[in-house]
Symmetry: C2
Subunit: 168 residues, 2 copies
């Protein structure tokens, strides 16, 4: 993906344009990805696959044994065709099952297998520690502030997307 525009480029010491926060987000995201990828690779899965497993696991803990593809799509913020492929690979790895729903013959119910559940628990056992490592560059107050600003920005972006089909 990479919306990357250019690297640090000293900028000759001139006008720090409003574009800086923007670029920094993109670069930081790339790094977070690079740091997290090997973390999950140790368990034989990708970050995206973890998203699916984690959501199924959470649902289970709320007493919901399986989720529909559309439901997963909404939770993961990706389109249904992407979920299809993701679930294909997880199914092939025997980590999830995909069964037709009895009440709605179009829908598919995706659920964890025993192996899938075990994997999630193994990952969770070290996950929080790892996320903390990733975030220790900021103290708790900075983390809260960063979170606050990102939420603020995100709300604004959501407004942009909802409002404009494609206004300049």
């Amino acid at each position: 993906m990479s919306l990357t525009d250019s690297p640090a480029r000293p900028n000759g010491g001139a006008r720090p344009t409003t574009e800086n926060a923007f670029r920094e987000l993109i670069r930081t995201f790339g790094l977070v990805e690079r740091v997290m990828h090997p973390h999950f690779a140790r368990f034989g899965i990708t970050p995206s696959q973890w998203g699916v497993l984690r959501n199924l696991h959470r649902a289970e803990q709320e007493g919901i044994p399986s989720l529909r593809l559309t439901e997963l799509s909404e939770r993961l913020l990706i389109r249904p065709p992407s979920v299809t492929g993701l679930v294909d690979r997880l199914e092939r790895a025997r980590l999830v099952t995909r069964d037709g729903s009895p009440t709605d013959l179009r829908a598919k119910q995706v659920g964890l297998t025993k192996a899938g559940r075990r994997l999630v628990e193994r990952v969770l056992a070290v996950h929080e520690g790892h996320v903390n490592t990733v975030l220790t560059g900021l103290n708790p107050e900075e983390q809260r502030e960063l979170h606050r600003l990102l939420v603020l920005w995100r709300k604004h972006l959501e407004g942009l997307l909802d409002g404009t089909a494609d206004a300049v």
Copy 2:
């Protein structure tokens, strides 16, 4: 890539784990991408392709008429094989040229075509305005603060990547 883990999930008002800033970064990034993609699509290019064109244009303005593939790879923070594909498509679209270097027969010099240069200038004419729109959700001070925190975090992540081959 979507490191997506799950959506807002009210969290029942309980322990706001340190993971929040983390998740918010991922979600905000996804939105930035969704907002920027159509912006570039209007010009028939993708955000990644813009990265190439913009860097070539910047180089030209510094008196450097072309960049090598490796140089592009470093500036864009992506691996050489990805640059190959990117340049392939830009070449097919007649926006850049790829010529062998006379001094080093292995190297390829990538440069803007006339059409590529025109396109960059057309994009630049509206680009800053668009970036500003994207960022108006935050006032200037908030933008600076967000930038500061992201840089802080990024430095930390870079340390993690340099230091550990794969420590837990």
